[in-house]
């Protein structure tokens, strides 16, 4: 149940890992699509928070090519629906999220990512 809306907000939280700690890279992914009703108002309010290049790259790495390279300034309903699909309907159920900075692997099992760190990885 890791949706891309959440993944796009998530960086590595290992101690002193501040470079290339976002976005976490998916691998060995098992994807499930669950349709849900789109809320365009929410999407519009959420847009400024998105890291667009990271979202586009991640969506493409999971086989979804519907998002344009650049974040549109004026959105058509079709584009909003595509954004809704990518953010809210694509659920990563199994796989790994790997940090490009420190190499930490966050495994996802049964839809739940394991974010627990070893004691030496915990920041102070």
């Amino acid at each position: 149940m890791v949706r891309l809306i959440t993944h796009n907000m998530l960086a590595c939280h290992v101690k002193n890992c501040t470079k290339d700690n976002f976005p976490l890279v998916f691998s060995e992914v098992e994807l499930v699509i669950r349709e849900s009703e789109a809320n365009y108002d929410f999407l519009r309010r959420f847009m400024p928070k998105l890291d667009w290049p990271a979202l586009v790259d991640t969506a493409r790495s999971l086989g979804d090519e519907t998002l344009p390279d650049d974040q549109p300034e004026e959105w058509t309903d079709e584009q909003l629906q595509a954004l809704h699909h990518v953010l809210m309907e694509m659920h990563v159920e199994e796989g790994n999220m790997t940090c490009r900075g420190c190499g930490h692997v966050y495994p996802i099992s049964n839809g739940i990512p394991n974010m627990l760190l070893a004691e030496h990885e915990v920041g102070r």
């Binding site: 149940m1 939280h13 394991n114 974010m115 102070r124």
Partner: protein, 217 residues
């Protein structure tokens, strides 16, 4: 009865048996639901707007279910896998994370429109491993939470402190992390109905008042 946080760490206490017991007990459920409703009220989100929220110590998804009903999009985290299993069975809509909040969050700055937490932060005060210093864990938790909330927003914690010292430790760690706000005590004069909420604020805001007078049923 001993307080659960004095018996064992949460991931041990809320093993399969406790997780099932916890979610089947209707009295606990109705108290939890009441406290969640009150926490949401104290969160004071803009009306009729879907928010992106964090449920800290989401447990079996009881509060998450209420967030679903309100139409919010949320992320829940908990350290007890067996509780998260129950949340999965409940088919809550939120994204669930296995996470030790004392290790801090990695969410990007300004991610959440608010956060709620029901009966959880007192757990941060017991040091289950020698390497865990409660003060360090509190600091790490509040600092990274503060960063992940947008300005302005709130984080509302219902909690059961066992002493005034604990309240002080928690509130001063929150203040050091940059939060404003403070304690809201509902029904302070009732032994049974008394509930304590820590209402933390990002950006300058006024602290809401506790409920008084007639108790809830």
């Amino acid at each position: 009865m001993s307080r659960p946080e004095e018996i064992a760490p949460p991931e041990v206490f809320y093993g399969d048996t406790e997780a099932t017991k916890y979610t089947q007990n209707t009295r606990i459920q109705s108290i939890q639901a009441q406290m969640t409703a009150r926490a949401l009220e104290l969160l004071a989100l803009p009306e009729d707007e879907v928010a992106f929220l964090l449920d800290i110590g989401c447990g079996s998804g009881l509060s998450g279910e209420m967030l679903d009903e309100e139409g919010h999009i949320w992320v829940g985290c908990d350290i007890a896998p067996s509780m998260l299993e129950v949340a999965l069975e409940r088919e809550v809509e939120g994204d669930l994370f296995l996470h030790d909040i004392g290790q801090g969050f990695g969410f990007r700055p300004g991610t959440f429109d608010g956060a709620i937490s029901i009966s959880v932060i007192q757990w941060l005060l017991n040091a289950d491993a020698t390497s865990h210093s409660p003060t360090q864990r509190l600091t790490r938790f509040f600092t990274t939470l503060h960063a992940s909330l947008r300005n302005p927003s709130r984080a509302v914690f219902q909690f059961y402190p066992s002493s005034d010292d604990q309240v002080h430790m928690i509130t001063s760690a929150a203040q050091r992390a940059g939060f404003g706000g403070g304690l809201v005590v509902d029904y302070p004069n009732s032994r049974k109905a008394r509930k304590m909420y820590l209402v933390l604020m990002v950006g300058s805001q006024e602290v809401p008042k506790g409920l008084d007078g007639e108790e809830m049923a």
